[in-house]
């Protein structure tokens, strides 16, 4: 097992390095160089060269990358151009909010997704199965940013039940687990949960149908085990894969929350990215994307290892 974990880590390292190269190059994809955005328009060529030298942009790219990576390893993601504050502190504040939202959404999506999936898998080709499949297709086809707007129209603008935007009544940037703040997370979390709900219900349906068709289920029934007893066996067999899909969905939601966070003005990483893009705050953009992508890579690793621990049959080569 330990060997397997080590193997996975060895496999992930080049991917993580690749991600860092991508994030580094991202800034250089932009038209001009990262300093163009902050330099006054009337700066002379000499002043520009001086600034470039001061920030190290006059060195060859591989050396710049080396210096940048060295700093990243020491927790220095540079400073935000817009606020002047360290990127790391801005990102870590936002990551907390995004993580809470994505976790709640994943939990809702997982609960309903497994429910629909089990129902559909148990009663294949029944009306219930058709309904569950329809819910799954709707979940993966709906533009979630539009769904968010529709939710706001229904529950905030028309019914006035829930607040349309923000993370709390005081307008402060942080969500806290108390009844007042709870009202603010309901709409964005439900909106966000629709995607994992569709994907998890599709996965679970296929898993359950697959397991029910296996011989050991027949054997269990033949020896007279109650339907509830059989159900428990099905759950144990479906759990590792279903949980793995849930883990990955959490990562997708955390990285893909920008549109929903923009709709609900949720003070998370998506909101931060949006601000970074429009203020052309490239260090902030780079730092946020690096943190989110690395989190996703690590999450993949953890999910993979946990899944193999739960079910040793699925070791990857």
């Amino acid at each position: 097992m330990l060997l397997y974990i080590l193997k996975r880590i060895v496999y992930v390292t080049p991917v993580a390095l690749g991600v860092s190269i991508f994030c580094f190059l991202l800034v250089h994809l932009a038209p001009g160089d990262p300093l163009t955005a902050i330099m006054p328009v009337d700066a002379t060529a000499a002043q520009q060269a001086e600034m470039r030298a001061a920030y190290g942009f006059d060195k060859p790219l591989p050396i710049q990358y080396g210096i940048w990576l060295w700093k990243v390893f020491h927790g220095d993601l540079g400073n935000s151009i817009a606020t002047g504050r360290p990127v790391l502190s801005e990102v870590s504040r936002a990551v907390g909010n995004s993580f809470i939202l994505a976790s709640v959404a994943t939990l809702i999506g997982f609960t309903f997704g497994t429910f629909f999936g089990f129902v559909a898998g148990y009663f294949r080709d029944s009306v219930l199965d058709k309904i569950a499949s329809a819910v799954a297709v709707l979940g993966v086809s709906v533009p979630h940013y539009w769904l968010g707007i529709v939710m706001v129209i229904i529950f905030s603008a028309t019914l006035g039940w829930l607040p349309p935007t923000g993370a709390g009544p005081d307008g402060s940037g942080n969500w806290r687990p108390d009844p007042e703040h709870l009202r603010y997370i309901i709409l964005p979390a439900i909106t966000m949960s629709v995607i994992p709900m569709g994907i998890i219900s599709r996965t679970v349906r296929a898993l359950v149908a697959d397991i029910l068709a296996q011989e050991f289920v027949q054997a269990l029934r033949a020896k007279g085990l109650s339907e509830w007893g059989v159900f428990k066996h099905v759950v144990t067999n479906a759990a590792p894969t279903a949980l793995a899909v849930m883990g990955l969905q959490l990562g997708y939601l955390l990285g893909g929350s920008i549109l929903i966070e923009t709709v609900f003005a949720w003070p998370g990483t998506g909101f931060l990215l949006n601000a970074a893009i429009f203020q052309r705050d490239l260090p902030l953009l780079q730092g946020t994307i690096l943190v989110l992508a690395m989190f996703f890579v690590m999450l993949n690793l953890v999910v993979d290892v946990l899944q193999t621990t739960l079910d040793p049959r699925i070791q990857r080569g």
């Binding site: 080049p14 991917v15 993580a16 690749g18 991600v19 190269i21 991508f22 991202l26 800034v27 994809l29 932009a30 038209p31 297709v137 709707l138 993966v140 086809s141 709906v142 533009p143 979630h144 940013y145 539009w146 769904l147 707007i149 529709v150 706001v152 129209i153 603008a157 028309t158 990562g251 997708y252 955390l254 990285g255 893909g256 920008i258 549109l259 923009t262 990215l273 949006n274 970074a276 893009i277 429009f278 490239l282 953009l285 994307i289 989110l292 992508a293 996703f296 890579v297 993949n300």
Partner: protein
């Protein structure tokens, strides 16, 4: 007596066997869900192409006196937007850009990605490992994040948004076509072709492409729905199409201020994205099951 003999002779007619694609088309025709989805897609595409003839008004001309009118207002069947422009007209015209920026990336990624995948899969060995490892890096990003990172760095604009989404889909298509190619490369008929002296180019053209492009094409059609949502999402964020062009994602964004006054009108552009996206998804599902030959 003779009647009985005749009945024996009149054996059930043997149907002329269809080619593979003809039988796929036949199965697809009998799938009502896929056919309805296809009809909706065709309707939206045709309306977009013939927009100047179909649309009742000018998509750019508005009137500040008639801004934000409800659905069914005289002269405005689907209401008027925040600048008093006819919503129905703008939704019809909006299909042009929305479909273009949604479908183009998948088309481009299909050409480039399947090229990369077939090359890596056919060559195999160390080159394959290197190519696939580079592709793995792109899988370390959720699609939405990758699309926004790229177009955020490149800057707003239709071209940049298409480039970003193409880069998002290339690795996904390349991975699928590499997997299929690797499978096919070891088949006996490829081996037989090689032994009989066929050049690598001929083998790839006849045996590999013929077998790889089908499944990869189906996979690519399933990406159109995602691509439509992402492309309009980029416009919604202000990273794609710029005003005053009609595009569903952008319209959804500019109408956000109207959710308290004209909620139904404000929700219309998103509904168009939803209808198009779900139609592509259902059609792609139908196509996939029509292509799965169970023997």
């Amino acid at each position: 007596m003779s009647a009985i003999v005749d009945a024996r002779i009149a054996l059930p007619k043997i149907k002329a066997s269809r080619g593979y694609w003809a039988s796929v088309g036949h199965r697809l025709m009998r799938d009502p869900v896929a056919m309805v989805a296809l009809a909706i897609i065709l309707l939206i595409v045709l309306a977009a192409i013939f927009a100047p003839f179909v649309a009742p008004a000018d998509p750019f001309r508005g009137s500040m006196l008639r801004r934000l009118k409800p659905i069914g207002f005289p002269g405005y069947p689907l209401g008027a937007d925040e600048l008093g422009r006819d919503m129905l007209t703008r939704l019809i015209y909006g299909g042009r850009l929305s479909l273009f920026i949604g479908v183009m990336p998948v088309l481009l990624a299909f050409c480039i990605g399947s090229g990369i995948g077939v090359f890596a899969g056919y060559v195999g060995g160390r080159i394959n490992t290197v190519v696939m490892r580079v592709i793995d890096v792109f899988f370390a990003f959720p699609s939405v994040l990758l699309a926004i990172a790229l177009s955020g760095a490149l800057g707003a604009g239709i071209l940049n948004s298409i480039v970003s989404l193409t880069i998002v889909f290339i690795p996904q298509i390349a991975r699928v076509s590499e997997a299929v190619t690797t499978q096919i490369r070891t088949r006996d008929y490829v081996e037989a072709a090689r032994v009989s002296g066929a050049s690598a180019f001929t083998i790839v053209r006849v045996h590999v492409l013929g077998n790889v492009l089908g499944p990869v094409f189906v996979y690519a059609t399933s990406l159109i729905s995602v691509s439509m949502i992402l492309a309009s999402g980029l416009s919604f964020l202000g990273l794609g199409v710029k005003p005053p062009e009609p595009e569903w994602g952008l319209m959804l964004n500019t109408l956000r201020t109207a959710i308290y006054t004209q909620p139904l009108v404000a929700a219309l552009p998103g509904a168009m994205i939803f209808i198009t996206s779900i139609s592509f998804n259902l059609f792609s599902d139908g196509l996939r099951s029509a292509m799965e030959v169970k023997q």
